[in-house]
């Protein structure tokens, strides 16, 4: 995104729309910090720029990665499409009753780096990937992040995108339920080494009715999940049972 300094009149209509506070009032005009801007497009959709000074410039690789991850209305190009085709999302538990993406005995680890609202560079995403790689976990391939991985075995991202910033990026992996005790301290250690935040989610199949196989582990590890969650109700057909 750019703000043309010749035509901007400094009305400030765009300043408060920025999701990452990259737009500020300069001396008498609005100024955009291109390093912080994640190209989410919110300002362009919401602000009523009276002179058209606020504009989307042509984005090329690697900067366009910002838009793919941050603007959920920006489709990924076919050759880089590993998930839903839009934004940073994955199917996670949404259709698990029909897809069997997560099965009994498995735990899905969902790390949304940069959320809520702090944003992230891919350098921090890579730090978390490298922490997890030591635990021999299985990364989910059907996520937008797959398009940026250079060396899956080493947890390395493409060199040119490391300093790009996005609103958030989801790392999704699968582990055995028995490995959760080993993984959580690694995640905690990675959390101390990054310059951003992440929301941590864990996905598991429920047993008979609402019984969760993670309840005993949570109790043992002294972890209290938040009281709210996302629950796949099992209304899909045919239902995936294993």
């Amino acid at each position: 995104m750019i703000i043309d300094q010749e035509t901007c009149i400094g009305c400030g209509e765009c300043v408060f729309t920025c999701t990452v506070a990259a737009i500020r009032h300069g001396d008498d005009k609005a100024v955009i910090d291109r390093g912080l801007c994640v190209e989410c497009g919110n300002c362009l959709r919401i602000a009523d720029c009276p002179t058209g000074a606020l504009r989307q410039d042509e984005l090329t690789w690697p900067r366009i990665v910002r838009k793919y991850f941050s603007d959920n209305r920006q489709p990924w190009p076919e050759e880089l499409r590993f998930s839903t085709g839009y934004g940073r999302g994955t199917d996670e538990c949404k259709t698990n009753d029909r897809s069997g993406r997560f099965r009994r005995g498995q735990v899905g680890v969902m790390i949304e780096v940069g959320r809520p609202g702090v944003s992230t560079s891919f350098r921090d995403v890579e730090k978390i990937l490298q922490a997890l790689i030591k635990a021999d976990i299985e990364f989910e391939e059907k996520t937008p992040l797959t398009a940026l991985i250079k060396d899956k075995g080493k947890g390395l991202l493409r060199d040119e995108i490391r300093d790009e910033r996005v609103l958030s990026c989801i790392i999704e992996a699968k582990i055995g339920t028995e490995d959760l005790e080993k993984i959580l301290p690694m995640i905690r250690k990675a959390a101390a080494e990054i310059d951003t935040v992440f929301s941590l989610g864990l996905v598991t199949r429920l047993e008979e009715g609402p019984r969760s196989p993670l309840d005993p582990l949570f109790a043992k590890l002294g972890i209290e999940p938040r009281p709210n969650a996302k629950i796949n109700l099992g209304l899909g057909r045919p239902i995936f049972e294993p």
């Binding site: 506070a21 959320r115 951003t196 935040v197 941590l200 008979e208 629950i231 099992g234």
Partner: protein
Amino acid sequence: MSHAAHRYGTVEELRRDYNILVKPYKALDDVDEHTREEAIRKTEAMAKIAYDAGAVNLGRRSGCIGRGDSFDDIMKWKSLQGFFAAFSDKEKLKKALKEYKERDYGISVVAGGLIEEIFAMCGEIGIKPHTILYSLGVWGKTDLLPSEDHLKITTLCGHHMISPAMIDHYVGQIRKGKITAEAASRKLAGPCVCGIFNTDRAASVLTRMAQK
């Protein structure tokens, strides 16, 4: 939209905030024209049920009622993307879920909200929940986060399209009497086109912030 599991708030506040996602599964629903049309027809019927049950917001990429788009216009978009809806009253959510169960559409439904309340609801209706996504909260440099009041609104959007500065802007307008909290809430729903933003809950937080 994994973030629907991470909506921030106290238990009392969350008692008035539930959401659903109804989503076809492309591997089974995007096989041929027949499966596609069937999944779209079922999704549309399920959206109508949520709307009639009293969802406070409902939407998809084509728009959302929370910001003033009409339900009929939103549903003109024929797509396998499914839809989202937000409820402030659990009885209204229960009414929609009960009808989904009875009609047995076979499309996946995910409900977000207080675990104990959703499980109780499932028990009453006779639904056996399949999978859960727990939130273990926010980790890392949490001193970078905005205030708790801001988070109560920004986390209502699954893609974080509502900036803390936008919230402050409307809180200032409410204080000056230029806009009501309800109208400001509808403005905030604008960037969150998916329809999962709970406008009732946002209005309540905005009112409290304006009074401070």
